[in-house]
Symmetry: C2
Subunit: 171 residues, 2 copies
C-alpha cells in the first residue's frame, strides 16, 4: 500500500481534489460564547480541496489556479466546460490531510509544507482564482462567487451534488 509520492520519483509539490457541486457550505469561523459560527456558501460550481507539500512555490500556485479555472470539469447540457465557461462558483478548502502518507495503520504528514509558507501560498492561490474569475466576462455577468475556507481551521462542511465527478491532480 503506497500513497502517490511513495511510488513516484518526482515528489509532487501540491495536491488538489475537485468535485462538482449544486451547493456547498463551509464554516469559516467557529461559534464562540458571544457569537454564532460564520459560514460561506456557493451554489452550482465546484469544491476545490488544496494541499501544499514541501517544494511548493508561487509558480506551483499559478499552475494550480490556471488549471482549476480552465480545465473542463463542469457540465452543460451539451458538453463539459471550464468553471469559467459554466459559469459557476468555486469553494476553496484548505486540506492539509491530503499530504498524508500511510505508515502501518497511521498517517504521517512529513511531506507537508511548513504551516506559515502553506498559509501564504494558500492566500496567493485564493487571490489568483479570484483574479482569473474577475477577468472572465461570463463570470462577472452571472452571480458566481469565489469563496474560501480559513487556513488551519477545522473545515465544517456540507455539500449537495448530482454527481461529484471527482478528479485528483498533483503539481
Amino acid at each position: 500500500m503506497t500513497s502517490s509520492s511513495d511510488s513516484s520519483n518526482l515528489t509532487p509539490n501540491s495536491r488538489i481534489i475537485i468535485q462538482r457541486c449544486l451547493s456547498a457550505r463551509l464554516q469559516i469561523k467557529p461559534p464562540t460564547d458571544e457569537n454564532d459560527a460564520e459560514w460561506v456558501e456557493i451554489g452550482e460550481g465546484c469544491v476545490v480541496y488544496v494541499c501544499f507539500l514541501k517544494g511548493a512555490t508561487s509558480e506551483t500556485v499559478k499552475k494550480m489556479a490556471l488549471m482549476v479555472m480552465n480545465v473542463k470539469l463542469s457540465e452543460t447540457k451539451e458538453k463539459n466546460v471550464s468553471i469559467l465557461d459554466l459559469p459557476g462558483s468555486v469553494l476553496i478548502i484548505p486540506q492539509a490531510t491530503l499530504g498524508g502518507k500511510v505508515k502501518g495503520k497511521m498517517m504521517q504528514y512529513h511531506c507537508n509544507i511548513e504551516k506559515g509558507i502553506g498559509r501564504e501560498l494558500y492566500t496567493e492561490f485564493v487571490q489568483m482564482c479570484n483574479e482569473l474569475m474577475e477577468k472572465s466576462t461570463k463570470y462577472t455577468e452571472a452571480s458566481c462567487v469565489v469563496r474560501n475556507g480559513t487556513y488551519g481551521n477545522r473545515q465544517v462542511f456540507s455539500t449537495v451534488t448530482n454527481g461529484p465527478y471527482t478528479h485528483y491532480f498533483e503539481f
Copy 2:
C-alpha cells in the same frame, strides 16, 4: 501540470479517497415515471470514493479493503482510530473519474480499467468491506452499516461533515 501517474514510474492499479462524515446520502436508483428515486444513507463514519485502473486485481481489492477498514482516520475525543474501532458506517461510491489524467484542458481516462472488470472488482471490494465489518465485535454491537453506490450510475449525493479530513491513496 501532471496527474499522479504522470510523475510515477510505478503506475497505480487503483485510487481511493476517504472523507469523514457525520451523515451522507447517495442515490442508488434514479427516479422513473412510476417510481421515486432510491437512496442509501449512513450516519457518522466515512465516505470512500473508489476507482480501478488497468492492472487492478483481487489482490489490489484485498489491500484496499484492509486499509480502508484499519487505517486510523476516524476520530474519538482522545485519539484517531480505525472505522472499525470508532465504530462507524461506510458509504462506498464508485468514482471512475478519479482515474482521469489532464491533457491540455481536457480529461482522459485511458488508465481506467475495462468497465466489466471494474464492476467485478467493485463488487468484490464492497463484499470484502462488509465481511471485515461483520467480523468486528464493536461494529456488530453498534448500529453501523456498509452502504454502496451502483457501479456506472450517476452518483447523486449529499454529505455533512465537521471536517472532511480528506486522504488520498493509491495501490
